[in-house]
Symmetry: C2
Subunit: 462 residues, 2 copies
């Protein structure tokens, strides 16, 4: 360090979780653009340097979100019968999507992003598919809906990766889209225009071919080739192997399971995020890891939708990348996603601390660091942890009050695995800006008011 | 009603969940002892009658608690290796139990009971096994430790069923107790004395033969016969079929699975609460239901300890009774227990709303009412819901702020299944006394301070 850091853009963390593990007295400093320029353990800071009021963690990327689905979180658990499923839930979702307007989407997304920040997510990947108006016609500004997501992210102060979705079919083999899908459907050319229009309006713009069932092979290849011409490093996300029926339908169509088909047919690499991958076999898990793709796990949504339990212990043993997403937003809580991921494995294997490893025997630490690193890769952004050159995205957990007397690892373990009604998260910083102070976001009251009104309007229409 | 209800002991709930389902404008009135004397839907209350500030639910009984385990919640997730299990967790538990004193237990339990109230539990069954001093000698007052639990419950204001534990062996066939179990071990006579000493110091006193592995058959029969002489209606709880190893060991010992052995050998009835019953087969499930016993499910603990997934859909289809407990207190959250119970079934069966029924198509309503009714039965107390003759134990969920515009069923469904960082629980009433107002318990700050000091002292010793 040549000059003392600017106190307005630095602090000392009594304990911080760095990519290599815990460190004490860590000086964090960032530049005016919000990029870390110094991460120095053992700092002997002068009295002028602010101290973080607790344990500092890297902020969590949320690698999978459909913002508008927040509007009906908890509202698909009523008036069910014994045969309820993912596919029936999808009909609910279509009804809510049908009523969406740009204003409603912006209000819902703003509230959601405020909630994400309060929960410890410092960035979000929007897998965005409601492109058109209620009749399926492009808006006058083609990117209208995506612009509203961008505006919401800016207002809330969360980092954004925008992934416009390519959606064309209602099933494998190019079955025509259903009328309920008309707001989602576009040509490859249309979606690539959207990608170009959006560059600069989010921190990163990639592409999301919705799934193998919604995108025929020729369109998939054409879209990826088009994206390569725009930005050969842009992230590519798709839903895959979420439901057993999808696996069965893909087998019927191609003779191959969906992950097998994808691995055989396309050159997967570190740009790819395979969302869910719930029904993956051992060979597929190894191939995903070997390709360097990221698996996008959404444990609370995968539980809520009855997808099944991802074979996480087997996958993590390959060293493959993964991260977490709140997806349908039934829950927006980093700790609950990680807890449920580990608990699913414990229930399956009848063991404890299944996802701990020899290198990382503290399971919460292992899960947190893995999910940050994988989430950063899927987001196409430098948000992979507390290291020079990465964004200054970080959280401060209370290490006083209920957590007094615990060491930093115990505070983190308690945050993820022990839940007694207290909010541990005190501060959330994004790109060096404090977005949440004392557990609260300044926009919370206003965004909730607008969200409630937006939801009421949508509920009127369904 | 002969006279208008005393406004200090009554209120009108705009919406309340009664045993038969939702009702509007429900007048609730209770007597000076805290028992409901009127539950009248469609009331046209005068202006003097207070209104509940939201949706009213019956308070949830917590049917299984080991209070002292709260002290290490979240602290057994660190420094694990790949072979961690329930049995290794038990060694942690023994170390914490070794350091316990009466003062520490009271401080831990007080904090726990405050947390339970804030989470919506209005009563608790204490499965209490740390009877003796560090050397395994009875305290001068034999009931010393149980008295501290009783004092904690009174201070916090939660209903209490005390279940002194009979513990004698370290394995099936009467293997001698280990030194680490010396604080738990007692004679049948000793435990029956404890039961007698404690009557009047809790709302209900029963007996907990720890498990088939810790209580040989002769002692089990003798203890139950003794309990019958004291109170032939007192509840009887035991741990059973929690871990596969327990099933295997029981088979090796007796040739029968633990639930089969119990069903064959003892006359189960409505007094019995079978805690966990995780590894139950179809015949055992039917027999439990036919006997009228209650299954005590502890979903967050059963996940945390890697017990396995209870076959809840099959059991609920029998119409059998069940309730929930927070057990080891990794989580203290009614909503999370019910959510995880349903999510386990969704993940297994790859369906949604698995535990809804034709009679109760709203899954959260079904789960809530079942768990209240079963919890009441296991508690041996009139706390089975909002009906005349039951205790005035109830909760008020916020139906404004984030929940504005939702109907009562949607508010409940959101409380259980949608989690966005807001506390919905505004008020908690126990026996007609408001223990939590505006989400807060008056003792919270003081109890947390004492808890933190108690934990620090215990951590020093392990």
């Amino acid at each position: 360090m040549m000059a003392p850091p600017n106190p307005a853009r630095s602090l000392v963390a009594p304990h911080a979780l760095l990519p290599q593990g815990w460190a004490a007295q860590v000086l964090l400093a960032w530049d005016a653009a919000g990029t870390l320029v110094e991460v120095t353990p053992g700092a002997t800071a002068g009295g002028a340097m602010p101290r973080a009021p607790g344990v500092v963690l890297p902020g969590m990327p949320n690698l999978h979100s459909h913002a508008f689905q927040r509007a009906f979180a908890g509202l698909t658990e009523v008036r069910a019968d014994g045969e309820d499923s993912f596919w029936r839930w999808r009909e609910h979702m279509y009804r809510f999507a049908a009523g969406l307007t740009p204003d409603l989407l912006e209000d819902i997304a703003t509230q959601l992003y405020v909630e994400m920040l309060r929960a410890g997510y410092t960035s979000v990947c929007e897998f965005h598919y409601v492109h058109h108006d209620r009749d399926g016609r492009p808006y006058a500004t083609r990117a209208e809906m995506a612009l509203r997501l961008s505006a919401a992210a800016r207002r809330a102060g969360i980092g954004l990766t925008l992934l416009p979705v390519l959606y064309q079919a209602s099933g494998f083999g190019g079955a025509p889209a259903r009328p309920e899908q008309r707001r989602f459907v576009d040509t490859v050319e249309g979606v690539l225009h959207l990608v170009e229009d959006l560059r600069g309006l989010a921190e990163c713009v990639g592409l999301a071919p919705h799934s193998l069932r919604a995108v025929p092979p020729a369109a998939l290849r054409e879209a990826i080739a088009g994206l390569d011409r725009i930005d050969p490093r842009a992230p590519i996300h798709l839903h895959i192997a979420e439901q057993q029926r999808e696996v069965d339908d893909c087998l019927a169509w191609s003779g191959r399971r969906p992950l097998r088909w994808l691995l055989d047919e396309l050159p997967l690499d570190g740009r790819w995020c395979l969302v869910h991958a719930t029904h993956a076999d051992a060979g597929e898990l190894r191939a995903i890891a070997a390709a360097g793709a990221t698996v996008g796990l959404c444990p609370t949504t995968e539980a809520n939708l009855g997808d099944g339990i991802f074979p996480a212990a087997d996958y993590l043993a390959t060293g493959g990348a993964w991260g977490i997403g709140s997806d349908s937003h039934a829950s927006v809580d980093v700790a609950e996603e990680l807890r449920l991921l580990e608990y699913g494995q414990r229930l399956l294997r009848q063991r404890r601390n299944v996802l701990a490893s020899a290198a990382r025997p503290d399971v919460a630490e292992r899960l947190w660091l893995d999910a940050v690193a994988g989430g950063a890769r899927a987001s196409g952004r430098p948000i992979g942890g507390l290291a020079v050159g990465q964004r200054a995205d970080f959280l401060v957990l209370d290490s006083g009050s209920a957590w007094q007397g615990l060491d930093a690892g115990q505070v983190l373990a308690s945050h993820v695995f022990a839940h007694h009604g207290e909010r541990a998260l005190r501060e959330v910083w994004v790109g060096g800006e404090r977005r949440v102070a004392d557990g609260e976001h300044p926009l919370a009251r206003e965004s909730q008011r607008r969200f409630v009104a937006a939801r009421a309007q949508l509920l009127d229409g369904v």
